[in-house]
């Protein structure tokens, strides 16, 4: 087992090198330069000012030198400084935005699964009834509705007409003076709509998954056996069928984990939430190489770690993988 783990860890090294190389190349292949974005179309900027800025960012060096400088820093866990005018460390820019994106995504994910499972079960146990069809229509509407449109309608209803919820942002102005309970309550009110909108769209996929998986299980012999034993329908469904039906959904949850650090540009923009989605989008649009590469690298690393953890779990469960014999 230790041997297997060691091998897997070693394999991460060439993978990481490959990822840095591809990331760097792709980012630099995009036309335009950060210098262009800051200085173009400004008559006060001479040629010399552009050269000055290129030199400041080290863009006048040969590409391979730029790459090795960047990788060298990366090896020391330094993501470098942003190529925007603020010139801040990339790490600061990411860490100030990561918590909000992470917590939003986790809450949304929990909500998605929390709703999708009962919806799926309900649809499966009432298969082909009006309820099932109603649910199907509802979740597909959620799937089809454009996020920005739904978001604006909800804002207008709850924020402007009914005045129940704040429209955008994370805090009310002046919330700094609130006590901690009121402060958290204020933030929770701000997050209601974004989380609702973020989860609504994903309900369709997950609940359909749950439904078909449940239907599949219900058709199995052991369920028939359970029913034949005279167990109540409740026990049959929630004790025997549910556990097995949940398995595919757990795989889904695993796949969602690397996505946790990514944010959605659209709803972050609409709800004025300063998250990772906006940061990444703006960095790409302004060709802020260090920020783009930093976020991509962190995402790649998380995916690698996620895969590693999953593989280790498989290995624990399956001796053939552990001992490297493989399936013939």
């Amino acid at each position: 087992m230790i041997h297997y783990l060691f091998k897997r860890l070693l394999m991460l090294i060439p993978l990481m090198v490959g990822i840095t190389l591809i990331t760097f190349t792709v980012v630099h292949l995009a036309p335009g330069e950060p210098v262009e974005m800051q200085m173009a179309m400004n008559p006060k900027v001479g040629k010399e000012a552009r050269e000055r800025l290129r030199k400041f960012y080290g863009l006048d060096r040969p590409l391979q030198e730029q790459y090795f400088t960047w990788v060298g820093r990366l090896a020391r866990l330094d993501l470098g400084r942003s190529f925007s005018t603020d010139n801040r460390p990339v790490r600061d820019k990411i860490t100030e935005r990561l918590p909000i994106t992470l917590s939003l995504n986790i809450i949304a994910l929990v909500l998605e699964f929390g709703l999708a499972v009962p919806i799926g079960i309900l649809a499966a146990t009432h298969r082909d009834t009006l309820l099932d069809k109603g649910i199907t229509v509802f979740v597909f509407v959620g799937f089809a509705v454009p996020t920005f449109w739904l978001a604006l309608l909800l804002m207008y209803l709850f924020g402007v007409k009914l005045n129940w919820l704040p429209i955008s942002g994370l805090h009310t102005l002046g919330s700094d003076s609130y006590g901690s309970i009121r402060y958290i309550g204020d933030m929770a009110r701000h997050l209601c709509m974004p989380i609702l909108v973020a989860s609504f769209g994903s309900l369709a996929g997950l609940s359909r998954y749950m439904r078909s998986s449940m239907l599949n299980v219900i058709g199995q012999d052991y369920i028939t056996t359970a029913r034949a034993k005279g167990l109540s329908e409740r026990v049959v469904i929630y004790k025997h069928a549910l556990r097995n039906a949940l398995l595919p959904l757990i795989t889904q949850a695993g796949l969602a984990i690397p996505g946790l650090i990514g944010g959605s540009v659209i709803f972050e923009t609409i709800y004025a939430i300063p998250g990772m989605g906006q940061l990444f989008y703006q960095a790409v649009m302004s060709r802020d190489y260090p920020v783009v590469m930093g976020i991509v690298i962190i995402g790649a690393l998380l995916t690698l770690i996620g895969n590693l953890v999953a593989d280790i779990c498989y290995a624990v469960a399956d001796p053939r993988i552990r001992e490297g014999r493989g399936v013939q």
């Binding site: 173009a40 006060k44 000012a49 955008s168 102005l173 649009m285």
Partner: protein, 540 residues
């Protein structure tokens, strides 16, 4: 951010600028009995982009300059009528030869940390700006300076090698605190996130991506601002911002034309908000690549202008919130030539001009043909600007009527600049310029500025204009400058290197609880320290 990137022609700090207000605000509520100015309350302004750095020397985006504009001062500023007056300089003299400017600095001005402001700060700002290690976009004007000296703590004398009219405005750049920056690396200074200036508001707090909070400077040299706090809320989406405005969480924002014309007309809205409308300091144009054989012929360019109905564009794209552009200088400025006649919308005249240029026959699709080739070109514009796209589409249809086949291509901004504009790899571009109060436009029109990456990317070369551009910038004599710029506008009207399309209006809206907003040629922001909220209506 980059949702809408405006092209800039001058220090974005002066962006709130420009001519005559066309609509006065609704009368204020509640009568006059309790309208006395009072200290207190806060003004919340919505902005679509976060600032990047609050050292204005290093910033290149308008959000940063807007915030920094309240925190710092320059030596001079534009007053409400767009005239240059002293700011940190109490007064200034220009020597009769135009080579030396002497600034007499205000005495008793203090930085927000209490240190006195002196000529040392001015010298430092000059030096750090021209320092080759400083990554700034604003060094160019200061490089014309031959020598600078500070005979005492409150006098600065600047000498130029040749008279240079835009020089004076360049001293409107923010003066930085020498005592906090001298001998340090400005790019790593903490002032970028927590600035110390001399301005009416001092910096309090910046929550990245959410808000920037400023507090009034009780010792401000022009008097303590009435409103205690100025808060910028960052809301990237204009629809969201509009809803926040209606819900009362934003006090001031810029409206889009459709919001101004259609969504903010009811009595419920107008009783709570005052809308303002005045021409913005920018124009939208269609620029022809003059190196392209199709557009070398002046008659073709004139024909294209005659085939475009500018009124229709203003009506369709801006809901009427704008005016026709005739040349590169906005109506109402001192350098604007009111006698220049625009080429009127006249498809018949357009057809005649095209026929003169050899485009007579039409093919079966109704497209003009010459030597077996159809008259066809592509309008290139940047992604994320809906107005420019709509403008292109209306023009496409108009030009189809006279037999010209137009395609439209939308390209992401960075690619647009690098691959198309810089390389001269385009036929027609749809773009806009922001204009500065000073009419100098050497960089956009002089024939020496046609190299890749420079701003005369359409390749306009005209010896007469070259001479006049130099003449216009090398004297401080307004009458002489006027003559030069008037003539330039006449030549441009004939040459049509661009089809100048329209000047959109700036459409700010301000909560009616805020009093004292007086629109002027420069806009509404100039007297912000005199805005106030009567005691009874204060909410924060």
């Amino acid at each position: 951010m980059s949702a809408v990137r405006r092209l800039r022609l001058l220090l974005p700090a002066f962006l709130l600028a420009v001519t005559a207000c066309t609509q006065s605000p609704a009368p204020s509520r509640g009568g006059a009995h309790d309208d006395k100015p009072a200290y207190g309350d806060a003004l919340v302004e919505g902005t679509i982009g976060d600032a990047s750095t609050l050292i204005p020397l290093l910033a290149s985006d308008s959000s940063s300059h807007a915030v920094a504009g309240l925190v710092y001062n320059g030596l001079v500023k534009y007053d409400k009528d767009l005239k240059i007056v002293g700011d940190l300089a109490e007064s200034f003299d220009i020597a009769s030869d135009g080579l030396t400017i002497t600034f007499h600095l205000r005495k008793g001005v203090k930085w927000h940390d209490g240190a006195p402001f002196t000529s040392r700060d001015v010298l430092y700002t000059y030096r750090v700006t021209i320092d080759p290690k400083t990554p700034t976009a604003y060094a160019e004007d200061f490089k014309q300076v031959k020598s600078i000296a500070a005979p005492d703590d409150h006098t600065v004398r600047v000498t130029y090698g040749a008279p240079f009219a835009p020089a004076l405005a360049s001293w409107g750049n923010a003066i930085l605190p020498a005592h906090l920056l001298e001998g340090k690396d400005i790019t790593k200074s903490t002032l970028a996130r927590a600035p110390v200036g001399t301005g009416p508001y001092r910096f309090k707090e910046w929550v990245a991506g959410q808000k920037i909070v400023l507090e009034s400077n009780h010792d401000y040299f022009e008097g303590r601002p009435w409103i205690d706090r100025y808060i910028y809320r960052i809301i990237p989406d204009t629809s969201t911002m509009y809803m926040e405005l209606k819900a009362g969480a934003v006090d001031m924002m810029g409206l889009t034309p459709v919001q101004y014309a259609r969504q903010t007309t009811g009595i419920r809205f107008t009783s709570l908000f005052n809308k303002y409308r005045y021409p913005s300091s920018s124009y939208v144009y269609m620029g022809y690549n003059l190196r392209h054989p199709l557009f070398r012929d002046k008659r073709i360019r004139q024909a294209l202008t005659a085939a475009i109905d500018k009124d229709e564009l203003i009506h369709g794209v801006l809901f009427g919130m704008g005016q026709k552009a005739v040349g590169p200088i906005a109506p109402g400025r001192w350098a604007y030539n009111p006698h220049v006649k625009d080429i009127a919308y006249d498809p018949k005249h357009a057809a005649e001009l095209l026929a003169q240029a050899g485009w007579k026959e039409k093919n079966s699709d109704g497209i003009l043909m010459k030597n077996g080739k159809p008259f066809s070109f592509t309008i290139l514009t940047n992604q994320g600007n809906q107005q420019r796209l709509l403008t292109s589409q209306i023009i496409q249809q108009r030009l189809r009527y006279v037999g010209i086949d137009v395609k439209i291509r939308v390209v992401e901004w960075a690619t647009f600049l690098k691959e198309f504009v810089d390389k001269g790899n385009f036929e027609v571009v749809m773009l806009g310029w922001s204009t500065s109060p000073d009419p100098d436009m050497f960089d956009v029109w002089h024939s020496s500025k046609t190299n890749p990456g420079e701003l005369n990317f359409v390749g306009f070369k005209n010896a007469g204009v070259d001479r006049l551009l130099v003449e216009g910038r090398s004297t401080f004599d307004i009458e002489k400058r006027k003559k030069a710029y008037f003539r330039i506008q006449e030549i441009m009207a004939d040459e049509q290197p661009y089809t100048f399309l329209y000047v959109p209006d700036a459409l700010p809206v301000v909560s009616s609880r805020i009093r004292g907003v007086k629109p002027a040629p420069i806009g509404i922001g100039y007297n912000q320290i005199k805005w106030y909220v009567p005691k009874a209506e204060q909410v924060y």
